[in-house]
Amino acid sequence: MSEPVSELLMFQVGARVFASTVRDVVRIGNVADVDASELIEGTSLGPTFGRERGIVVAGLDGAAEATLVVDQVLGVRSVLDSEIQPLPAFAAAVIRSGAVSRLVLLDDAPTLLVDLPTLVRERLAATTTRPSPA
């Protein structure tokens, strides 16, 4: 029996490469085609440089779709589920985001596996709780 495999979407934000499970992604789009109010930027993944691509993520609990702005979508890689591992315990205990709790070793380098719905939810929550200027 073959080992279970996950399909990962590889994408780039700034100089850093991240992965997410393909099942979290509705489609890939162009940022220019999306209304600015639906774009998700300034997440904990860091600033974007080119803002060329958007990863459309399904809203949770019936919420509207959201488009995460990224610099590049690099493609899809298949990895064995056994290659996906949790963050080291100390890192998991101190990190201030629930969107990154796992990683996968690709070419012997730890690549962070991003939970896109959680990332979007955290960004929206930060936006709505940001204090208004005096």
């Binding site: 850093r16 997440t43 100390f90 890192a91 205990a93 201030r96 990154v100 730890p110 962070l112």
Partner: protein, 170 residues
């Protein structure tokens, strides 16, 4: 100890626990000499390319891979607010176990094992800020003064001072 070696020598049985001598692992951080209980150190490794973590506190500059294991890096200088340790290609880290946590402690340089006669250990100064908050004592050897850190307490403080996802700030 040579910095070119991948791991430290095993400690003699009972080292650091009893007897007239105390065994410490010594490193240099931001111009000072610091040490902690040698038995906490499992090996010394060359720091691989760092993967930085989003939303990580400043004392956690990233994670790296060592023999297929992903290790978090602890910058003690950042933890105590005394500045970041510059990470270079030559940077090595001491891999330590502190209770449930396994971290790679970076420094400006590793001296390795030092043996201090217990009679040469003095109480730490009564300060409660910066690195002094985590000192358990002060020692002296032929190279000068060594500040002895209570590393498990420092690591636990780092964990508790960070505000993990889902928690409220204190």
């Amino acid at each position: 100890m040579s910095q070119g070696r991948p791991s430290i020598e095993p400690l003699p049985a009972g080292a650091g626990r009893s007897g007239q001598d105390a065994w410490f692992f010594c490193l240099r951080i931001l111009g000072g000499r610091y040490a902690f209980e040698a038995a906490l150190v499992t090996e010394v490794v060359r720091l691989g390319p760092l993967t930085r973590l989003p939303a990580a506190p400043s004392f956690l500059p990233g994670v790296f891979t060592h023999r297929g294991e992903v290790l978090p890096v602890l910058d003690i200088g950042q933890m105590v607010g005394q500045g970041a340790i510059v990470i270079r290609a030559s940077t090595r880290a001491a891999v330590v176990h502190c209770g449930p946590w396994k971290v790679a402690v970076i420094s400006d340089g590793l001296e390795g094992l030092v043996v201090i006669p217990r009679r040469n250990l003095e109480a730490s100064p009564a300060e409660s800020s910066g690195m002094a908050e985590f000192l358990s004592g002060v020692a002296r050897d032929k190279l000068g003064t060594i500040a002895v850190l209570d590393l498990p307490r420092l690591v636990e403080a780092a964990r508790s001072r960070a505000v993990p996802y889902g928690s409220s700030a204190p």
